[in-house]
């Protein structure tokens, strides 16, 4: 594109400058990281949002931490156990200090649990995680006991999502005081320096960190929403690492010797909900002549199976996702707790799908519009077009409509669509909570099926799931969850497509340990030898 000569000249002219800049940056151990989504607050209890939660890991810590595979490991607590079905005892880490030098004790934990449900104007609070705890007892400064009203096996996992704040600074602090840095004082490896909404977050090293010193002095997280801008920032050296590399650029960047690209399967599944809420045709589903049908085809398990068999998952993974995805058989990749190794992705079989449709009474297919978000999940608008291709080959007349996330999710929740492309990231890292939200018979008061936009219902499955949720024994519980998963996937309660693979790219000299929770943590970024 550009005459080589000019390029060489430019390199010659700028090389000394560039060298200077690089050595300067390395000596100071200051790094910049390009993030995709904005951080909405520096108050760890204000907004339960993935980018915020990821950022908070630098400044604050939970009692329990999740490692790169979302396994629970000790954080501010060194150990925990269920004393009985309703009682949990946590032993806290000693000699931990907040950024201002004050020691961390059980008082801070108790205060945090009190603060969490009471953050004014919180657009999405963390109260979901603390609600099961009905009583807190401080035994000594480093032992604390939690009581629940019903057996709550997910308590450790829930508490891993709650960041511990300092009681001293938090008692009179509002969200603004965290944003300004006044109260933003945690025990984590980095301290607050600056927070500019929609623009950047700057942190500096906490040299007294109990877990040992981090390799970086100063972190600058830049918000670069536009994917091309993010890649350009990395290539031009403005940032040393970026998250969510666009799939189209990965192949080329992997070949670039000046970059290191790492990826890992994530906890996010991309799936399809089929609207089974109506007796007759759901919205946007018609017979071939465009008239609504007397029966809702999605209520027929044969139709759901056919729609799953018609999908060439390998083609999606290979062509649309540029191999940065893994064909899905359930709601989480089978490295996670509660997943069944017996479940395999549905085989691509258009002939079989046609046969099933004919058996179900649709020998000539029917007509439907596929709906999906544009820009919410990786390549979502491309995936849905590929799906439309597959369905048009088994005789279904398909149209595609995509919306910005702001429009799409409101309408999907109102069940204004028939065929909905969606995604679900399981932050707890175990399959029961995903099934509970997406597939259990909808009963919002009990927290069941809150996001069951397909309105799939199966009492036998509900019973298994409910039983699993109160079984304290880990092995036994996992068996029940697996059994439930096999049952619901056999009935195609939803159509799993693929698990997203998250990708990070770093400049030469840096090494990132990828994570399943899609978090971008400076603590996982090390200088490579």
């Amino acid at each position: 594109m550009i005459p080589r000569l000019i390029r060489r000249l430019a390199v010659l002219l700028l090389a000394p400058l560039a060298a200077l800049a690089t050595t300067g940056a390395l000596a100071a151990r200051d790094i910049s990281i390009g993030l995709q989504a904005a951080i909405t607050s520096m108050d760890p209890h204000y907004h339960n949002l993935s980018p915020n939660n990821s950022m908070m890991q630098h400044v604050f810590e939970g009692l329990i931490r999740r490692d790169e595979n979302q396994k629970l490991v000790p954080g501010l607590a060194v150990s925990w156990r269920a004393v009985d079905d309703l009682t949990w005892e946590f032993k806290l880490r000693k000699n931990v200090r907040f950024h201002d030098g004050t020691p961390f004790t059980a008082e801070d934990v108790a205060f945090t649990l009190k603060r969490v449900p009471n953050v004014p104007n919180s657009p999405s609070s963390f109260a979901t995680f603390t609600k099961p705890i009905v009583d807190v007892k401080i035994v000594d400064p480093h032992t604390i006991i939690f009581k629940t009203s019903t057996p709550h096996v997910l308590l450790p996992s829930d508490l891993a999502s709650v960041m511990i704040v300092s009681r001293l600074h938090g008692e009179k602090a509002a969200t603004e005081d965290y944003n300004s840095g006044k109260a933003c004082i945690g025990t984590g490896p980095y301290k607050y320096v600056e927070f500019v909404p929609n623009q950047r977050v700057v942190l500096k090293a906490n040299y007294g960190y109990w877990g040992g010193e981090e390799p970086w002095d100063k972190l600058t997280f830049k918000i670069l929403t536009n994917a091309a801008a993010r890649v350009a920032a990395l290539l031009s050296g403005d940032v040393q690492m970026i998250e969510n590399v666009p799939t189209s650029d990965i192949a080329k960047m992997e070949k670039d010797k000046n970059l290191s690209v790492v990826s890992k399967v994530s906890n996010r599944v991309i799936y399809v909900h089929l609207n089974q809420s109506t007796e007759k045709s759901p919205p946007f589903v018609f017979d071939k002549s465009g008239k609504p049908m007397e029966k809702n085809p999605f209520r027929d398990v044969r139709v759901r199976k056919a729609l799953s068999m018609a999908v060439n998952r390998d083609a999606i993974v290979d062509r649309v996702m540029e191999k940065k995805a893994v064909s899905a058989a359930q709601l989480l990749p089978d490295i996670f707790y509660g997943t069944s190794k017996k479940l395999k992705p549905t085989k691509f079989d258009p002939e079989g799908a046609k046969k099933l449709l004919a058996e179900a009474g649709y020998p000539n297919g029917f007509a439907m519009t596929l709906h999906g978000p544009a820009g919410r999940y990786i390549n979502d608008d491309k995936v849905i077009q590929a799906l439309a291709q597959f369905y048009s080959r088994i005789g279904i007349d398909t149209k595609v409509e995509t919306f910005p996330a702001s429009v799409y999710f409101t309408r999907a929740t109102n069940l204004e669509f028939g065929y909905m492309l969606l995604g679900w990231g399981t932050e707890s890292g175990e399959q029961a909570s995903a099934m509970r939200s997406l597939l259990a018979t909808r009963d919002p008061a009990k927290g069941m099926g809150v996001n069951n936009r397909g309105r799939y219902t199966n009492p036998a499955f509900d019973k298994l799931l409910e039983q699993a949720l109160v079984t304290m024994d880990d092995k036994k519980r996992e068996g029940l969850i697996q059994q439930a998963a096999e049952m619901v996937m056999g009935e195609v309660g939803l159509i799993p497509l693929h698990y997203e693979v998250s990708t990070w790219a770093a400049a030469k000299g840096f090494k990132y340990t990828p994570r399943t929770d899609q978090y971008t943590l400076a603590t996982s970024l090390k200088p490579s030898k």
Binding site: A227, A228, V231, A232, P246, S248, D249, A251, K252, N312, A315, I316, R319, V320, A374, G375, D381, K382, I384, Q385, A386, A388, Q389, S392, R393, T398, K399, V400, E401, T402, F403, P404, S406, V407
Partner: protein, 295 residues
Amino acid sequence: MTTAAVQTPFQRIATDFARSRLAIVGLLMLALVIAIALFAPVLSPQNPYDLAQIDVMDSKLGPGEKSMAGKTYWLGTDDQGRDMLSGIFYGLRISLGVGVLSTLLALSLGIVFGLSAAWFGGKVDTLIMRVCDIQLSFPAILIALILLAVLGQGVDKIIIALVTVQWAYYARTVRGAALVERGKEYVEAARGLGLSSTRILFRHLLPNVLPPLIVVATVQVAHAIALEATLSFLGLGLPITEPSLGLLISNGFQYLMSGKYWISFYPGLALLLTIVAINLVADQLRDVLNPRLQK
């Protein structure tokens, strides 16, 4: 030669127009573009909007590569396996159609409101002009997003959005020009003769306001096409399965850096040529139709 004396106005315009070779090139290009748009279904090797005809396994092939079935894609394929050449032909059709239709509609609306404002004055004028103010102060993108939310996606919706964005501009221009014309003798003469308002407006005022307006509108077609492309780039507007040029460019945008230039380069080139052709023609038309520049 005595032709100069007996030339009809049309002939005069044609001769003047032909004085610029650049404009002739523009006109030829425009004719070609229009022909392609009209005959896209005949010219295209594939119907890029028929999902059954495209295969994701053929996606991202380079120019001249062969598909699984042995078909050659001269300009390559996009990320869905759509033949770029067919995509561009059909995209041209949509882009040009959207541009022309929205401009015509906006122009008609603008004429009606602009003339009314100039003719009736007073409260009508104020009302229309303040509505114009509102209209012109809204970012086009926000209007499009709101319309998209309320109406859904589709070619008709994007036309509505473009008309909504553009009409006020014409209304202002028409009003300005009409105010100037209203003061001229011929209008007063017509009034003196007792002709009806509608008659004066449409038979006498409009023809005199129209020539500059046509030039503006020609440029606006190009602008409407570019605006549609921008909206598509921002993810608003047309359904993704029926891409216009703008949507094709936007889809290929992310592949530019990875070296798959053809997905956005060729549609970009087509868009560029179309807009440049329209502007070249409009430019010369402007000079030709402006009586003050006649020697």
